[in-house]
């Protein structure tokens, strides 16, 4: 290499180390790279969370439509048969979640009590008793926790 100790180095071959300074050792470079990598991993780890939130936002929209669809079905059939809505209003425990066949990631159930807002003050209209509700959640075959997504009150 161009750092032979017995002759002066040309400008092209010399390392431009400052007098009294020292070059970085391989260990120092590796440590710096590890820190850089740790930062990159942190950023990379954060992005999937954002993607999941995007997905959940889209799913919440779909949940709203499924809830509206089920509520419209109940209203329509109640107009011909009667008693459906009042049967739902009287339910203190919801029906078993049923998979929504056209999009099996979701499940729906009916209840006369809130499932999504059990901890709210009784004065809050969202937890009013005796109001028919459609409750949409993830189907357990898709998300084992069956997370709640949306609750629609209807009459």
């Amino acid at each position: 290499m161009g750092c032979h100790p017995t002759r002066p180095l040309s400008a092209r071959t010399a390392f431009s180390l400052p007098p009294g300074g020292s070059a970085l050792s391989l260990l120092e470079v590796l440590v710096a790279m590890t820190i850089l990598l740790a930062g990159a991993v942190a950023v990379v780890g954060w992005l999937p969370t954002t993607l999941r939130q995007n997905e959940r936002s889209a799913d919440a929209t779909t949940a709203v439509y499924i809830a509206q669809m089920k509520a419209e079905e109940i209203r329509r059939d109640d107009s011909f048969f009667g008693g459906l809505i009042s049967a739902i209003e009287a339910m203190t425990t919801g029906t078993l979640p049923a998979t929504f066949p056209l999009d099996t990631r979701f499940a729906y159930s009916f209840s006369g009590e809130t499932v999504l807002y059990p901890d709210l003050s009784p004065a809050d209209p969202r937890c009013e008793s005796g109001v028919a509700r459609v409750i949409i959640r993830y189907d357990r075959s898709f998300r084992p926790n069956g997370d709640l997504l949306y609750e629609l009150r209807f009459k």
Binding site: T6, L37, A40, L47, P101, L102, F110
Partner: protein, 291 residues
């Protein structure tokens, strides 16, 4: 540092000897042995390590970019379909006669989404008609509501909302036209169909009084409507694929909009290739037909 060209060359023997004793100030290299720079091997190792790290970081970054693009396309498609469905739903609620529903299974693009959605090894084998008309995988699906079941007259017959019904359909490009009687303001006629709009294909447009056209959703691959006829002779015949203006209003309309949901342009797909789509659907009652 410029080389000293006037200095005579040092004989090899002297150079060897110089390595064992201190060099005069002018002949000494600027890098002292205690502060030596990288060797060639060290640089190679460092470059290889850096290359390996950078490769993995860049690969991850590209994957994330692709995922983000897909996620964005999905969100845009959802918003697109949702906005269109909102508009259509609001107008259907105020529908009046005449009411026309044209079924158009012929204007298909790619046939369907090219995906076996129901896992029966058949692709896009169903017509979106509210019935199970393909593979006999139908199962009644009704939540029990006390002594009742939802959709009481759907018990024992295939119906929209049951398993196996319209789960792996071809695309349709239906047309829907009716008069709207708003609570305030004059009546007007509205027509929804998928058409070209300002040079762009596959746009769900809203045509008012046959005069003004506005876009509702872009990259629409399927627009399908079903009409609920409460006067049908049998429960299994309640969902109709088309609606004649000679009939009274349907009691409700099922609307389904399928939108392309990928960053990849739709024109680049070939027939049968799986397409990423978003489908939003709703059932809208026509209030005047609901007692």
């Amino acid at each position: 540092m410029t080389p000293n060209r006037t200095q005579p060359p040092v004989p090899r023997l002297l150079r060897r000897a110089a390595a064992t004793r201190p060099l005069p100030a002018r002949g000494r290299a600027r890098i002292a042995p205690a502060r030596r720079a990288f060797t060639f091997l060290e640089i190679l190792v460092a470059l290889l390590v850096a290359l390996a790290l950078l490769t993995s970081v860049v690969a991850t970054f590209i994957t994330i970019l692709n995922l983000t693009a897909k996620s964005d396309a999905h969100l845009v498609a959802v918003a697109n379909a949702r906005a269109a469905l909102e508009t259509i739903s609001m107008e259907i609620k105020g529908a009046a006669l005449p009411f026309l529903g044209l079924n158009n299974p012929e204007g298909l693009f790619l046939g369907g989404d090219g995906v076996d959605n129901d896992g029966d090894e058949l692709v896009d084998e169903e017509q979106p008609d509210g019935r199970n008309d393909d593979d006999g995988d139908w199962a009644d699906q009704h939540a029990g509501i006390g002594a009742w079941a939802e959709r009481p007259d759907g018990l024992g017959v295939d119906d929209l909302g049951d398993f196996g019904v319209d789960e792996d359909c071809v695309f349709n490009l239906d047309e829907l036209a009716f008069r709207v009687a708003p609570s305030s303001g004059p009546d007007y006629d509205v027509l929804y169909r998928v058409a070209e709009f300002q040079g762009r294909e596959r746009v769900l447009v809203r045509l008012i009084d046959n005069l003004s056209t506005s876009p509702l959703a872009y990259d629409v691959l399927s627009f399908n409507c079903l009409y609920w006829n409460p006067a049908a002779a049998a429960p299994a015949e309640r969902w109709a694929e088309s609606w004649s203006p000679s009939l009274n209003l349907p009691a409700c309309v099922a609307v389904e909009i399928t939108v392309h949901a990928d960053a990849k342009p739709i024109e680049s797909y070939t027939n049968g290739q799986p397409v990423r789509t978003v489908t939003e659907r709703s059932i809208i009652n026509i209030e005047s037909m609901i007692p």
